[in-house]
């Protein structure tokens, strides 16, 4: 069997992560005040990614508007990818809800597809749409046209692609307008014009578009690889070039790592930060630490100092924080006796027990409210921990 790629389509992971929004119009706002994702119900009203939130509100007043949480969404993508990785050697999961498996060489591809369907259904709470074709582009388009829980299999890719509108190509509004001016409205028309002509009109993007339209699959999957060392990773979509946003993401990842280290009763002796950079090689920094780090505060202290000086070559698509060298658990127990932090779990449990006995107000966390208010009572909120 020639290379076969299966694509599973579920809602944007920002929405999939929030089951309470299923079945209702919902819009996820990115940090830039624009729509990052919209539920099917909201899209039926005309909401599209890229519109401003105000425009979205006007189109669909009933829509719930929620903020994006890139760290949590990235975690979900990682979990899905890790599960799919058991089914096929090459998988890719994107935050927009598309997940691919390359089934080439599998003896029982049907079984893999069925398992993938179950995995995606569990992750999203809805039936995925599935497509199967020679390559990822066609497979994704097939998935969009499949019914929920069903697989659309494409045998003749050019024939399948030909009538589809050019909007299915990943081009910006201006480029699509150029195509329209050229009278190219379907993938078939683009395919007929050919890559060389399209390149002269639209540059490299045009060439890629023509190859895609022809079913030649110029863009391979970006395969997911599991973290071989303890680490935490966050994919960023769209890529981020704002330092504050990177620090925010890193803080979340350090919290995850600290939890994992606490579970093992371990501390990190070596810390590595890797930044995936758009259209450029990955950048990384690492260092051995004298005093093993185990708390989120300690890890973030180190990571944030690097990030504050870092000047990546281009917007960042992925942040990975790894701890390739850990201090053995046995030695950490000794350190606890000598003086160190108890595991996060134990302290949390102690606080919860206090709350069980004396009410939730006995243990409080501090949140900044109106930090610059001249009134003392307005600056901070104490909320149950």
């Amino acid at each position: 069997m020639a290379g076969r790629v299966c694509c599973g389509l579920i809602p944007h992971l920002e929405l999939a992560r929030r089951p309470e929004l299923t079945g209702a119009p919902a819009v996820v706002g990115g940090g830039d005040g624009r729509v990052l994702a919209a539920s099917a119900e909201a899209m039926a009203a005309g909401v599209r990614p890229g519109l401003t939130l105000r425009q979205a509100e006007a189109l669909c007043p009933a829509a719930a508007i929620v903020g994006a949480d890139p760290v949590a969404t990235s975690r979900l993508a990682e979990r899905i990818a890790a599960q799919l990785y058991d089914l096929a050697p090459e998988v890719e999961v994107r935050l927009d809800g598309r997940a691919w498996l390359d089934l080439t060489g599998l003896p029982l591809p049907g079984r893999a597809i069925a398992a993938a369907r179950r995995c995606l259904r569990a992750a999203a709470g809805v039936e995925p749409r599935l497509g199967l074709a020679a390559g990822p582009f066609a497979a994704a388009l097939a998935a969009t046209r499949a019914r929920p829980g069903r697989l659309l299999q494409v045998e003749d890719v050019p024939a399948f692609l030909s009538p589809l509108p050019v909007a299915e190509l990943d081009l910006d509004a201006e480029q699509l307008e150029r195509l329209d001016l050229l009278g190219l409205r379907t993938l078939g028309a683009v395919a007929a014009l050919g890559p060389r002509q399209l390149e002269s009109q639209l540059g490299k993007a045009g060439r890629t578009a023509a190859l895609l339209a022809r079913g030649e699959e110029p863009l391979p999957l970006a395969p997911w690889r599991p973290l071989l060392v303890p680490g935490a990773r966050c994919q960023l979509e769209p890529p981020v070039d704002d330092r504050e946003a990177l620090l925010f993401v890193a803080r979340g990842l350090c919290g995850d790592l600290a939890g994992a280290l606490g579970d093992r009763g371990a501390g990190a002796r070596k810390v590595r930060v890797r930044l995936g950079v758009e259209d450029a090689p990955e950048e990384s920094r690492e260092s051995v630490v004298r005093h093993p780090l185990s708390s989120a505060a300690e890890l973030f202290g180190l990571v944030s100092s690097w990030l504050r000086e870092w000047r990546p070559a281009a917007p960042v698509t992925e942040v990975t924080i790894e701890v390739p060298e850990l201090e053995a658990a046995g030695r950490r127990q000794l350190r606890l006796w000598m003086g160190g932090d108890g595991s996060a779990e134990e302290v949390r449990a102690a606080l919860e027990r206090l709350q069980d006995r004396h009410g939730v107000e006995v243990a409080l966390a501090v949140r900044r409210a109106l930090g610059t208010s001249p009134l003392a009572g307005q600056r901070h909120l104490l909320v149950p921990a």
């Binding site: 505060a297 606890l336 102690a350 206090l354 501090v366 001249p374």
Partner: protein, 253 residues
């Protein structure tokens, strides 16, 4: 308590809970220091910081500045420990704004507001047992909690700092390090009172020689909005007369 009864009680505890449950002060492992970042405190302890696994006490009359000092230590603790806890017995005595402006990591901070003194003791012991990195107690705890607190801290290595007006006997006994702050007068700055000038004394020390002193000037904000790095500041006059700015204060901005 008659000596034999005490020995019997200690013996009983050893049998039921194992040798770690109750440890004579003399047999506690040597305390490792936790540097507070405040040169005066670190120097006066004789070991370079507050002792881990022990109860320390900061005492002084109202207005001397002991609460200020304690909150500065708390701010450092939130940056260096995963869990820093304030046990604030009387409601709203603790203002998070202060450590926030000192650069505290609020995410590491938990405020415990016990409804009664007994619950305050219970919380302090429970957190020390769980190994909370740093616990600041803003009130004297009831006597029955102090022994268990000492043991729990010794086992986990937690740093415990109690702020009190005047040491009761039980607290004085449970403390491994007692620092006392006495107000000398008020320090003017640019025609306005800036803050108290006090002397910090080490009045009890199980880990090194007591008796060391340092003079501190604390600066309070000039108005409701903080102008920036100038507050809060401790200016320490060493015996040699050199003024040392407090490291880390500018990080608050």
């Amino acid at each position: 308590m008659p000596r034999e009864k005490l020995q019997h009680a200690i013996g009983a505890i050893h049998v039921r809970f194992g040798g770690h449950a109750l440890v004579h002060a003399a047999r506690l492992p040597a305390a490792r220091p936790w540097p507070t970042g405040l040169p005066a405190v670190d120097r006066l302890s004789g070991i370079g910081g507050l002792p881990r696994g022990r109860v320390s006490v900061l005492q002084g009359a109202l207005g001397a500045g002991k609460l200020s000092l304690a909150l500065a230590v708390l701010a450092t603790a939130t940056r260096e420990h995963a869990h820093a806890v304030v046990i604030d017995r009387r409601h709203r005595r603790f203002d998070p704004w202060i450590p926030d402006r000192m650069g505290a990591d609020l995410g590491a901070l938990t405020v415990v507001r016990p409804p009664t003194p007994a619950v305050a003791g219970e919380a302090a012991v429970a957190l020390a047992r769980a190994g909370a990195g740093f616990t600041l107690v803003l009130e004297e705890l009831p006597e029955p909690a102090l022994g268990p607190l000492e043991s729990a801290a010794a086992r986990s290595g937690s740093v415990v700092l109690v702020v009190a007006v005047g040491g009761g006997r039980a607290l004085a006994h449970a403390s491994s390090l007692t620092l006392e702050l006495e107000l000398l007068g008020w320090e003017p700055a640019r025609g306005r009172l800036a803050g108290p000038r006090s002397v910090l004394r080490c009045v009890k020390n199980k880990l090194a020689a007591p008796g060391a002193e340092a003079e501190l000037v604390l600066r309070y904000p000039r108005g409701p909005r903080l102008p920036g790095a100038e507050w809060p500041r401790e200016v320490e006059r060493t015996p040699a007369g050199v003024v040392e700015p407090w490291p880390g204060a500018s990080a608050a901005v």
